[in-house]
Point group: C3
Chain length 355, copies 3
């Protein structure tokens, strides 16, 4: 098989439906950032057809720059509209229009979403799905193949339930949620616009048991899982239900793939948890906490607002608001890298002194 189009195929039209062309005027009108028209071209009637990287963008396409490493590409681009930060605004070619903003990536996300809008629910229940008669499903919900919906489940309008997903008794799902394929949902209440990717497991028993003489004895886990509005959970991640209170994920928080969230965890709003990180039972994250990939947090600790936990970090105690820690056990970023540099010098000089 030949894959000659590799690296060269963004927006394969079989997979990604692009909108019809959008007038520059329309894009500018809906933007909240500064517009600087081309010095030599009129914006009148310019129709933009899509998005592209600086190097391949055509004169009717939108591009952006937010990394100074790629500054050289800016002067050469043919893009009709470029999103840049104020620092680069004077480097925009004279044939290009520009949107100037301190957060070009955000504006890029907004415009890219105009060309590639999210698919809307295609209302209806697939003939192969099994729906309990007591379920309350809004008529504007899309239920795909072989979905199982058990007793007393509620699903709000605009939500999509992917093929082979199983929703156990009494689960409540808000409006405009997107549940992928092969998801298991139990003992859970979801807000609006919650996204669960394929293979997510929500609501299973936490890892709670007493140690007896003759083995382990399970403790009933009688809390739920609450996913607040706009939460997203990545593929194959697992969120256990609470034992003594609810496991709670705050509004807007984003959790990546293969993440483990233990029972009774409380997460504030707009937290980020990157792939393969794990949070042990009863730990609390305040708002805007970031946990990088493969980091691990022990149970019963509290992470302050805006704290950043580095990749592979092992957190064994409370972390103050706004601090940035890394290492296992966790220490401030500065200390971690200073220790490493120090040890390296020490070993080197000891080695030299022997020779």
């Amino acid at each position: 098989m030949a894959f000659e189009n590799i690296n060269n195929c963004t927006g394969d039209s079989r997979f990604f439906k692009k909108s019809t062309p959008i007038a520059l005027e329309q894009i500018v009108k809906t933007s909240k950032v500064e517009f600087v028209p081309s010095k030599i071209k009129s914006e009148k009637n310019l129709k933009l057809t899509g998005i592209a990287p600086l190097q391949s963008a055509k004169q009717n396409e939108v591009s952006f720059l937010d990394n100074k490493r790629y500054i050289d590409l800016l002067s050469k681009t043919k893009a009709g509209l470029i999103i840049v930060s104020p620092a680069f605004s004077d480097k925009v070619p004279s044939h290009s229009h520009a949107l100037i903003t301190s957060n070009p990536y955000l504006e890029w996300a907004r415009i890219a979403s105009l060309f590639y809008p999210k698919t809307l629910a295609n209302p209806g229940i697939h003939s192969t799905a099994f729906i309990d008669s007591s379920a309350q499903i809004d008529e504007n919900v899309e239920i795909q193949e072989f979905v199982v919906i058990k007793a007393n489940v509620k699903i709000g309008k605009g939500s999509i339930i992917g093929s082979h997903t199983v929703i156990e008794q009494n689960v409540e799902i808000g409006e405009n949620c997107r549940i992928g394929s092969h998801v298991s949902l139990s003992y859970a209440i979801l807000g609006n616009r919650v996204t669960l990717f394929s293979g997510v497991r929500i609501g299973q028993d936490g890892f709670g048991f007493a140690v007896g003489d003759e083995g382990f004895f399970s403790v009933p886990q009688i809390g739920r899982v609450i996913l607040d509005d706009d939460v997203e959970i990545g593929s194959n991640s697992t969120i256990d239900r609470g034992s003594v209170k609810d496991t709670y994920i705050g509004a807007g928080s984003r959790i990546d793939n293969l993440v483990q969230i233990g029972h009774n965890v409380q997460m504030g709003k707009c937290c980020i948890v990157v792939a393969q990180a794990g949070i042990s039972g009863s730990t609390q994250l305040e708002d805007y906490v970031t946990i990088a990939a493969q980091a691990g947090l022990i149970g019963h600790i509290r992470i302050g607002k805006h704290a950043k936990i580095g990749a592979q970090c092992g957190v064994m105690s409370d972390i103050e608001a706004k601090s940035e820690v890394i290492g296992s056990p966790a220490m401030p970023f500065k200390e971690f890298f200073r220790n490493i540099a120090f040890l390296r010098r020490l070993v080197k000089s000891s080695h030299k002194s022997k020779n």
Copy 2:
């Protein structure tokens, strides 16, 4: 959406069916620990209606204390029955009855389970399930929606097979097992009372191949997976089948979510493996080994009885019985924390001496 009940809702009656009230007399009779009646109230006729934390328990509810941090709550609680260790028995309020035990959490687990007993199998095969005619399924088994059971599978009485689970040819499942939804089971033999949570993968090929000049060449994996009685495996965990012998998980062992167990691993009884840990091929765990979250063990090593492997530990060689190790590579707990403290002092003093 408003989630005003967050953190405040244990035992949501929609999700958790509670037993009818239980007479104090009945609870005491089935207990193996010391009972100390209230100094001012008769236990006659007291009916207990449920369990609750010390701070919210009512006079007909059971509570417990096993952490001295919460000792202040003990004197203020209204709980009708409190489980405590001998050290706190004199702090039990006079209006409360008490059960005195050196392992309050175990007694708590037992009593909580009286109020929230495990759901029993609701025998029957759902109309949407696909069962091969050669399968031998006890009539007292519950088979849920869209389950697939292939040729010659055997399932013992009282077992529950969750929606969308696939059981491949010749797999044997004992009595009173609980298999969650979306489980894949192949080349496996399960004892009695085995629990597999949603998304568990059992019996796929181990990661075994020879390296040739023109790529990799798979080695046939012709061992099975044996899960002994009372084993529990957490959501989305993966256990590969053996290549040259069986992969074996000993009776009563508990494995958390997202754990990887390689081919030919042999695990003793009552081991604990916490979330996201991984055990490489052919490694052996003796009985009562604990492996904390995100730890990794290389292949072909042996971990002695009662050893404890710390979180994120990287184990590259045999570990003696009863030892406690942490760090990557693994070292005794003491050494690990001594090294860290030492390095910190060293860097600090070096920094000072420069100033």
Copy 3:
């Protein structure tokens, strides 16, 4: 339940169908390595019935040795045919025939596969599967229970699609692929002989979003996932589709269980990624890279040809071809172990000097 056959049962005939006996002559004829006949037995008419470890092999079975630890077993074995490296050829018992090769494990893999050949597709579509009428499925494809195949999917001859797998719109699968049960496949193009084990998630959105004042804003992910010929992906692993180019896994690469591959990752041919490792977005692996278990790579870096990344390694920058690194942050193997030994001595001597 009694598991008395544990550790002692390889090739359980219920699970593993063995070929009929194979003539020694036939095995030798198809081998590319040196054959040394027994000094006392004629190879004429010897029929080999299977494979076994040295200690239990019978005179009509094949065995192999590639670890000098087990050299003592060689002189005692009854095996009719033994695969060994040149170094051990003079220790082969006189009643055994031998195949002499510098890569005994590869020859073992080849011969073991003669006795336990891969199951071929049993063509046909199970009556419970749901196939969109626009899908183009070769007639020599096996589709198992409750499979979902959506619009415009293409599947080449000889491929097997396991129970409960969901293949989303426009996905293309080559010839002789083996897709396990419960797999989610979207936005993907697969070459020939690709193997996906149970629970694999391919093609979901990458973890890409802009940070705005009122929360996160998703960036459309408009790349695909390309899995080249002979790629294998382990159970419950997740591969996100590209955002600005395709996520690409090179021919022959093998990925173990519970591995995370971020968007836009580019992996060369014959790479190995062991269980629970993670590769962040836009990172590039050249050919023949090995990444051991639980290692993590940050995004936007490049790993050179034949580089080896150790277990639990944290890679934060480019790695040169052929280098071997370990530790978090990554450093050369030598440096890592030298640092550890140095620190240990230092702490020890400091401790002594205090006493």
